[in-house]
């Protein structure tokens, strides 16, 4: 019976709509946006993988939860379906239900947010990893972007200084402009220290196939290939596949560099912890928390970008484990040169 109800739900509701038409329920009033709301209601729309990916999405949640805890209010999170084909629907639902600000996590929202945001001019939107400096996505969208290449440059410096074989590696999750920023910075950093260094670079999956961000087995194979070829330090920008890189490092007695969060602290296995030399920190949590605070104080203008880089400490290099304590001075130096503008880090691989 329930099955039949489910199957027929569509057509029944269609009929219901037709008959409901003249009544015009009052629920529509909420759709206008959250103007003059006394309580903070934050909407958070994740990208592929959703909540619980122990990476990017979770980091955004940590930041949003911290802000909402401090300011009081409500946090509504939405994860997309498995193939993330309903990204637009997530934003529409959040905005329609009066959540404000609505924060989209991930560059995959680029097209979708440009489509949805103009439909809700009263709602404030933000997109993690998506630029809106030119305002093309609407006047109510703020881009929360990161200078990943700067942190990756430092990771490259650390790898080059620490490598004994003069041979290091880079494993990217999915070949995309975003991950190429990591690669470009890493390569530039390593070559600045040692122009003769050999750098193996490989991506787990090609553009358009997002499995590379969540495939530890293939991450392990790719990294293993690099260690076998003589690399002794591998930096990964591969999300959930990074665990495989650590396993390959542990299995071959080499070292690896983590990404996004301080992975020395987040991996649960002590054997893997021991191989994580450092991590390139991308503080999505800080950026999201800061944005919500700014919003609560009325400091969000829209059509701008908030750049998180070394100078704002939105990007950095983790020191947990103490593996890079001895080269900390060099790293500080390079970091300062990047902040001063003496070193310009490339964002694209030539």
């Amino acid at each position: 019976m329930k099955a039949a109800a489910l199957l027929l739900a569509g057509s029944m509701a269609l009929a219901a709509c037709a008959s409901d038409e003249p009544t015009g329920s009052s629920g529509g009033g909420e759709g206008g946006g959250g103007s003059a709301t006394e309580e903070l209601r934050v909407g958070l729309a994740y990208d592929t993988g959703g909540r619980g990916d122990r990476s990017f999405n979770d980091s955004a949640y940590t930041g949003a939860a911290a802000a909402v805890d401090a300011l009081g209010g409500e946090l509504q999170e939405l994860s997309p379906n498995d193939d993330a084909s309903n990204r637009a629907d997530l934003l529409v639902q959040l905005a329609e239900q009066g959540f404000d600000p609505v924060i989209a996590v991930g560059f995959n929202y680029d097209d979708v947010i440009a489509e949805v945001a103009p439909q809700f001019p009263e709602t404030t939107f933000a997109q993690v990893d998506g630029s809106n400096a030119d305002g093309a996505k609407g006047d109510n969208v703020t881009g929360l972007i990161f200078a990943e290449e700067e942190g990756s440059f430092l990771a490259g410096v650390a790898a080059a200084l620490k490598s004994e074989s003069g041979h290091i590696g880079f494993v990217g999750g999915v070949q995309s402009p975003l991950i190429e920023k990591f690669e470009a910075g890493y390569v530039a950093g390593a070559q600045t220290v040692n122009p003769q260094i050999t750098i193996d670079r490989q991506y787990i999956s090609p553009a358009g196939d997002f499995s590379g961000f969540n495939d530890p087995a293939r991450g392990q194979i790719v990294a293993q290939g690099m260690y076998d070829a003589g690399a002794d330090i591998v930096y990964h920008a591969a999300g959930g596949s990074g665990i495989g890189v650590f396993q390959a490092a542990a299995g071959s007695g080499n070292r690896a560099i983590g990404v996004d969060s301080d992975q020395y602290l987040t991996v649960s296995d002590p054997a893997l912890q021991a191989v994580i030399m450092t991590s390139m920190l991308k503080r999505v949590d800080n950026a999201v928390e800061q944005f919500i605070n700014d919003y609560a104080e009325g400091n969000v203008q829209g059509a701008t970008d908030v750049l998180n880089d070394l100078s704002t400490e939105g990007i950095g290099l983790a020191t947990s484990g103490g593996f890079i304590d001895d080269i900390q001075d060099d790293i500080e130096q390079y970091s300062q040169q990047i902040i001063d503008g003496t070193i310009t880090v490339p964002t694209t691989v030539e």
Binding site: S85, Q97, P177, G208
Partner: protein, 403 residues
Amino acid sequence: MSGVVRRVGLSLLGPVLAVLVALVISALVIALIGQDPLEAFRVMTDLGQSPSQQVQSIVVILNRAVPLFLAGLAVAVAFRMGLFNIGVEGQYRLATVLAAAAGAAVALPGPLHVLLIVVVAMAVGALWAGIVGVLKVTRGVSEVISSIMLNFIALGLASFLLTGPLRGSPPGASIITTAEIPESGRVPSLNGLLTALGLAEPRSGLYGFLLVAVVVGVVVAVLLTRTRFGFDLRATGLSPSAATASGVDARGMVVKTMLISGAIAGLVGLPDLLGSQYDYGTEFTAGLGFLGIAVALLGRSAPVGIALAALLFAFLDRAALPLQFADIPSSVVTIIQGTIVLAVVVANEIARRLALRSAERAGASAGPSPQTGGDDGAPPPTAPDGGQRVHTGVPGDQQGAQA
């Protein structure tokens, strides 16, 4: 008449049973995680308060169901022939990227432009699937193996084309896309039709490709059940040896079936491409080909069944959102979808055996008396042996049906 009722009843039995079992299991799981199953089901069927929200929900469901339906249909055509086309995924991705590029490269008057894109997509899908068919008949390569392998090649090729020769997005953009298809190559939405029916205007457009999908569904249904070709196809699926014995060119059928399956697979990406995206990019919906297998299984490889299955999957997909608003984990939906697919395989097998047995009974008793068409679902248990003996006269049939 009552025979038809029983046949329809039996063919519905499997999926309905499967959905029921899945709902019971899901209800148990929901109860186990400390939520109220009834509340969860109520939330899932809640389409929104205002008329425009409700229409919007239905549009979201239909827009999701269209590609699922086409994917299911592509898989089902091969299924009916006894071929397992796992390659729909690669076929539609490659077809979509090439069709998108072709659509962006030319300027033609409206309908012709759309037609060109559709033809390119179908041709690419058919050719890619055709490789599987040719490999099978010339080298005896299992279509399961070759279509999986060709998936990897297709995805890699699509990615190479997208990032290389067919790239249309500016160098710095995070999402790499092909060039945008101009206005004339897009399929207009059916929102005008909705408002004409007296429904509220939804926020997003109902895919005009819905009509194309319906036409494709009807054509496939007619092809399968009303043509010589369809008869040959189904006969080969039921028993290759019997079909060959009666003069069907089994090898030719394999290639033709794969071509048709691939041509339909080529259409899978087009509803999104021509209805809302207008370009193929790195964020283009992936995985529809695999979902299509589940949809085809649930729909028992019949077009009407596949349409219902696609609607059910699309409905469940949308239900994940209201569930999250109600603080119920949306994984509930994944659990329901998973258990449905699992249950349907089991239930289909049970229903098939019941159908087989009742057919045997009908065959055994048709001779002595015409009063076979009783509505009773449980005829006397003496029949099976008789039925068995009747059927042993047909070589190959028994084996084919069991396989």
